[in-house]
Symmetry: D2
Subunit: 234 residues, 4 copies
């Protein structure tokens, strides 16, 4: 990772769909353009919104929130990696604590995505699970203690040892896997802490999706990430 | 039902996505326009394709292939009914034998979809399961013995008693629920048999999605349904 | 049903296992013996305890808490109906709100259990789901609004219309299916209400499993059921 | 590991239950007694059989085939680690390819089992999944390519690189985790190959459970394991 990462999980918030989802995407594009070259912005959007959002974005990467471990064929209501790619996704979240999947599901999707040129951001709810995920060689892992998700209490403050343990265990398995900090990330301060604790960025959701001014929130997080990155990884 | 129903399940066939999926949708629209007023055509498409396909169709109804029993909110990679509606779907398949769900999942989604003005087509793999589904009052049910799906051996020929038992059991529970025949439907003859056995139409997949000429196949099925309907339900 | 039914779900409470689970079973046997001929007592115990408990009981029926829709064969960690039968169970709970299963799972298990001479008690969380379950012809259904389970607030007081709607909808589908009332049942008064509202008994868990004196609680429930039954179904 | 390991997965074969399951257990005990001190024998039996089998065995260890990531409490039809322990199990299989579970399920059960003094044998279907499992520090891992299970074609002959890749990847993550070879193991020769390829033993099922003479088959496998162990790990 040459730059920090700001990943936004749209989840299925009311603001994730239609015009509202598009407006947040366009705001994210403006922020990403402001920090072009020094920040990577990722939006993980609902499957139904990938195509509409991907076609208006350029700097920002669109991810799916989940894909299934199937090949194209007779599968009803399951999305192969190809479905996300065809719609314009550059990668996919996987194993979010709200949508945990089988170990073999992660193993299969990481391998299929890599073969198709798509990225994978695998979430884990403990440092050991993050290390296990890292053994599958995804593009990135994110650690998110589920008890803090949506609370506004950042893991970096409530349980910083979860982040530092994750960094330690993941890097013992695979020192090249970038790690994101998730759960309770609300402010620029939380974003700075994520960099300071040894991860490359944050995975946020409600802080942006439920913000009165999502663009201001994105700017706050982006600025903090870029500043902390310059300081910690000169 | 005033007209027979031709429902096409795109599944995740390679032809379901992007330009190919759009071409089949446009072909279906032409067929539906030819039989406007005497046939209803439904396309159940991958979640990632709903918006792109819905916006070019008028006579044909677009369905999701699956939705989840959640309300909008903090759900990663799950699609509430609202997601399908926002993308332009008029309804959703549910409980296809390739994607069977919990009884309470069907119960919840049927109720939420009705409240939002969306239709539900609930699949069942046995006559008793179809009767159970009917007790939940979906818009339609479809019976599909899984061992015949994709075989080209129509249920109406291999096991007609599954269709007639379904009609009998479903109508004991709720005489107003229209029933579709699925599994192995390949030809106009199969479509006629579906009407003759007391159902209102067919749910097909590979016959159309893997056809050399999907439009010709759609026309064959449509013509047979309309003719059988005129004969059996004058 | 000639007699009311007192069904106790052991769940996985600490008191469900080993000597403690056995002691509650022996207490239930004494209560059942006291009311022999005028009450049926069922204990749904953990899979690991079925054999040890079944072998010391005579009047009381032992049920599994769940079985899987598989035939004997190459299935690791899944229990076919035969496993429960071999261990001494007379039937099984299914689809408890803490362990909801697919519609086809219920359909398959009800059919397999009937073929093997075992009973099925299918739980449902809404009146419509109970009606759907009834369409599969299990031995009994139980209605349990999940928001009341474990609260000590009986459904018969908090939401009596859920019980009466269930009775109405289930009997429209199949007038011969006995119905149990579950969720929040704590006292003899709750048990009486269950009979008064048109069901044949109660499905209880914490009221017995967490009682200081389980035998006294079982006696209280048994007496109330038998008295209400004599009054309501003379 | 000071000795090789012979693990037998009873699955839900008809021979797994009741008198037949007990007879195989007693045969295994005789074999284990013959090789006491130079071989460890493990039987993973159905949940309903753990107590009856555990109480007649001494040298052989009884395992569950699966447990759930829950604590004792209000869980219907799920088995906490405590349930297996109370019934007499010394450990549990987990994530068998016939019963794959979520990454966090493995993470939780491995941790809970260790806290309660129980062992965990985590199965994986690929070398990378085995490495991921190893990152969670179970007692042992087993690699079983699902396409060979039950075929009688041993992985050690059909795809020896799966075994050697597993040994390599697992030991990069954690050099102390013993590995078993599974899938298609039928003969003493297959058992020898498992040791030769760097694993500590075999996980077998149909070879024993469907054998005309299970004790003879157990003896054949045991002898081969002990001889290969003496040769390869002097």
């Amino acid at each position: 990772m040459k730059t920090p990462v700001l990943a936004v999980n749209y989840k299925a918030y009311p603001t994730a769909f239609g015009e509202k989802g598009l407006a947040i995407a366009l705001a994210a594009e403006r922020v990403a353009d402001n920090y072009r070259g020094s920040l990577r912005v990722i939006l993980a959007v609902p499957a139904t919104e990938i195509a509409r959002i991907a076609e208006v974005l350029d700097t920002v990467s669109v991810y799916a929130q989940h894909v299934d471990p199937v090949e194209p064929g007779a599968h009803t209501g399951y999305l192969p990696v190809e479905a996300a790619k065809e719609a314009g996704a550059r990668g996919t979240l996987l194993n979010h604590s709200e949508h945990q999947v089988k170990l073999s599901h992660i193993d299969t999707v990481v391998r299929r995505a890599a073969a198709l040129g798509l990225e994978t951001l695998v979430c884990a709810d403990t440092p050991t699970a993050a290390a296990a995920a890292a053994a599958l060689s995804p593009t990135m892992v994110a650690v998110e203690p589920p008890e803090l998700i949506g609370t506004g209490i950042p893991v970096s403050r409530a349980k910083p040892e979860i982040v530092t343990d994750t960094v330690k265990l993941v890097h013992m398995v695979n020192p090249d896997i970038p790690i994101l900090t998730g759960a309770g990330i609300t402010s620029g301060e939380d974003a700075s802490a994520a960099i300071r604790l040894g991860t490359v960025g944050v995975l946020v959701a409600s802080a942006v999706m439920k913000a009165k001014d999502p663009e201001a929130k994105l700017n706050e997080l982006a600025e903090a990430l870029v500043k902390a990155w310059e300081k910690e990884r000169p």
